[in-house]
């Protein structure tokens, strides 16, 4: 069954272990600007949100790509990037509604999450399970259940 990367901003501490792990996995050095995951923090409220490619089913980056560099292999859940076909027109960068496809001038390539061949480094590095790699059909089950528990407690108090 297919898996997806699920984020839990309620658990995220803003530590950026995912960011350093990603840049290290891809480049063997620490360059957050080259990470395929970024963490944004709102300090007044103490909330952080990790952001990375959603591997959209109808992916705008693949739709606009004129050379097929950004593409989906039939049957795969991943949007893959083939640098050899890429002409660096950056249409994918323009098209991604999340800002998750990024052009990197250092490597002259498009950076986006490829789930590290089904073994995401960011997930392994997260100390609080704020990023998980889960079966897509049950991805929200634990979140739903956590909310269900709040209802349960409310009902228990009433009863």
């Amino acid at each position: 069954m297919a898996k997806l990367i699920m984020i839990h901003p309620d658990k995220c501490t803003g530590c950026k272990n995912c960011v350093v792990a990603c840049s290290y996995a891809k480049e063997k050095q620490f360059r957050p600007a080259a990470a395929r995951v970024h963490v944004y923090s709102w300090e007044r409220e103490g909330i952080s949100v990790p952001m990375m490619c959603q591997q959209c089913n109808d992916a705008p980056c693949a739709s606009v790509c004129p050379t097929g560099a950004m593409h989906r292999v039939t049957g795969s859940t991943l949007i893959e990037y083939d640098a050899s076909k890429c002409i660096r027109c950056r249409m994918c960068v323009q098209a991604c509604p999340f800002g998750n496809a990024v052009y990197d001038s250092v490597t002259d390539s498009i950076l986006k999450c490829d789930t590290c061949d089904d073994n995401p480094s960011c997930v392994a590095a997260c100390p609080v399970h704020a990023i998980e790699y889960v079966e897509e059909n049950v991805a929200t089950r634990s979140r739903k259940k956590a909310f269900a528990q709040k209802f349960k407690e409310a009902f228990q108090e009433v009863a």
Partner: protein, 601 residues
């Protein structure tokens, strides 16, 4: 270049000159980075006798070679300068992402010299560095400053700034980064204010390279595992924050209470970590590369004290709590928020108020001095008012802004200041815990717990338990902790990694990142070298061995009640042995042989 970037950024605010110069790698090997390397540069470049608030002082922002890597919980930096509170070297340590961002911009250190004529901020965008006008944000608090500067530069920029307290040169003003992370102690914010420097804003996109990736990955895995599996580093601090210590210190009768008159506070649980987690915690927060997450995003809903922010740490909860005789947690958390917003060190702020309460109740300060305020132990609302008055140097607050030593001296009773070398002692009673008293008395920045945290073995039993009331063996214990911490601070590591790892793991990480081989002995010797460098500066700038002491109250007034009832500090028994083991003469001066051995002569 590995670990280190090899470049130092030097900015002169008087002339406007901006220079990039190579890092002296020989010094980098000997002093590592952060606290150590910045202290080496500062002591080489300034006259120890200068006025800390003059343009001759320098302000160094210093991450370490491990900052910015995935070494766990090692993304910290130090702010180093001559300290206005003590006249000693300040190296105030802070977390968040600001230190790593300096590295990503390409710099080992940022040295700020001189003083600007008008308010300015420093904008570092990789190679592009500008001194920009800050007149429109001068006067703003920390969160508003941070947001205004992000709007003016880059929405994700890392901002370290001062609040009104730093602008008004409160002697214990902090520098705050990312709103809630504080380079708190010794008044580094006042030095920044004296330079008319409102903020340093950084964006970096460059890499930090690793010399030996294979060894580094292995060392990271080992360190992560040991820290995560440790009950303190892996669980206690994440669930309860550092404030978990309140009930622990109270249970051993060493929770200083009412300006250190007592060592036990019956209502301590009201401001302990368990209460914090139950009633105030929104979620745990982590600094860059942190796997511990002791940071507390918190909220007070009581309309009278409403606010949100981060904290309190244990020492803050203790200071505004039992040291002021207060058990109102809403007010304690609120006091922490105000300190962060206005840019004040919470420890010196709280203990200076406790000192004022003590002087007032003893009749040495009256309503005439305070502008009519009754400054009494236990009065939370007056405490909160005094925090704001201090940050703005308003009325009686102008006197509190000088810290407890100058306050108590002004009224003829310096013995009421619970300080060592003019910096206030934190939350561990040196009468009930002998080793920490020896550390306070000998610490190179005055009263301070984070440069020789013997609480770990003396109270927590980490890595082994020793008798808190014994003096035997304490001098060596204190020296080992002081040296280890000096080296650890200089790597960029958080002190809390030592709940899990020690010199061996740190030396392995440092060697793998930098490509310079550090054995455990090399690492500990670097710590010894840094400690002696700081001592030499202190002896030239502000102190003699006679200042290695504690307030008289610690040796003359036994703890009156609780589990440590009857105890006093036996500093005199421990100090001579400490000097001998340090390789110092009977006056506390490092011998020529010692300095030669450490390559300091």
């Amino acid at each position: 270049m590995y670990g280190w970037t090899g470049i130092i950024l030097r900015v002169n605010l008087t002339t406007g000159e901006i220079k990039k110069e190579p890092t002296n790698l020989q010094d980098a090997k000997l002093f590592i980075g952060a606290r150590g390397l910045a202290s080496k540069i500062l002591t080489d470049e300034i006259d120890p006798k200068i006025d800390p608030l003059s343009a001759e002082n320098k302000l160094i922002f210093a991450p370490g070679p491990l900052s910015g890597t995935m070494a766990p919980s090692m993304g910290r930096y130090d702010v180093v300068c001559k300290a206005p509170l003590t006249g000693l070297l300040a190296a105030s340590n802070s977390g968040g992402s600001f230190g790593p961002e300096i590295k990503f911009a390409g710099y080992d250190l940022v040295i700020v010299e001189g003083a600007a004529k008008k308010p300015v901020y420093l904008w570092i965008n990789d190679d592009n560095v500008e001194i920009r006008d800050a007149s429109e944000i001068w006067g703003k608090n920390v969160p508003d400053t941070t947001e205004a500067l992000r709007a003016a530069t880059d929405e994700d920029a890392k901002v370290a700034c001062i609040g009104p307290a730093g602008e008004k040169k409160v002697l214990f003003a902090s520098i705050m980064n990312e709103m809630h992370r504080a380079a708190g102690r010794s008044g580094v914010g006042a030095v920044m204010g004296s330079k008319n420097l409102k903020a340093v804003v950084v964006v970096g996109t460059k890499p930090i390279a690793v010399a030996d990736p294979e060894a580094f990955e292995k060392a990271v895995m080992v360190a992560r595992k040991k820290i995560t599996e440790h009950p303190v580093g892996g669980t206690g601090l994440r669930v309860y924050g550092t404030d978990v210590l309140t009930n622990i210190l109270n249970s051993v009768g060493s929770l200083p209470t009412r300006n250190f008159h007592e060592g036990y506070f019956p209502n301590a649980d009201k401001f302990g970590g368990e209460s914090l987690t139950a009633k105030y915690l929104t979620r745990p927060r982590g600094c860059f590369s942190c796997i511990i997450s002791c940071g507390r995003a918190t909220k007070v809903t009581n309309p009278k004290y409403a606010g949100e922010g981060e904290g309190p740490e244990y020492e803050t909860a203790w200071g505004f709590g039992s040291d002021c005789g207060i058990d109102n947690m809403d007010a304690v958390v609120k006091a922490n928020f105000i300190c962060n917003e206005l840019g004040l060190d919470t420890i010196t702020m709280a203990t200076t108020i406790a000192c004022a309460m003590d002087l007032y109740e003893s009749g040495f300060i009256t309503g005439k001095d305070t502008g009519g305020l009754a400054v009494k132990f236990g009065d939370a609302d007056t405490m909160l008012k005094l925090v704001e008055m201090t940050a703005n140097r308003e009325g009686f607050g102008d006197q509190l802004a000088e810290g407890s030593f100058r306050l108590a001296t002004r009224y003829g009773h310096p013995e009421y200041s619970m300080s060592a070398k003019k910096q206030e002692m934190p939350a561990y009673d040196p009468r009930g815990i002998q080793g920490i008293g020896l550390h306070y008395a000998t610490s190179n920045r005055g009263g301070c717990h984070v440069r020789g945290y013997t609480i770990s073995p003396e109270v927590l039993g980490v890595p082994f338990k020793v008798d808190q009331h014994a003096t035997e063996g304490k001098p060596q214990l204190v020296i080992t902790f002081q040296n280890l911490t000096a080296a650890l601070d200089s790597t960029g590591s958080c002190l809390f990694t030592t709940f899990g790892i020690g010199a061996e793991e740190l030396a392995a990480l440092l060697s793998a990142v930098t490509g310079v081989t550090y054995t455990v002995d090399d690492f500990m010797k670097a710590g010894d070298r840094i400690w002696n460098l700081e001592r030499l500066f202190g002896l030239k700038s502000a102190i003699t061995g006679k200042d290695d002491r504690l307030p008289d109250r610690m040796s003359k007034e036994p703890i009156p009640a609780g589990p440590s009832k009857g105890e006093i500090s036996h500093l005199d028994k421990m100090l001579p042995e400490y000097y001998t083991l340090r390789g110092w003469d009977s006056k506390g001066v490092p011998t020529p042989e010692k300095l030669h051995d450490l390559s300091l002569a």
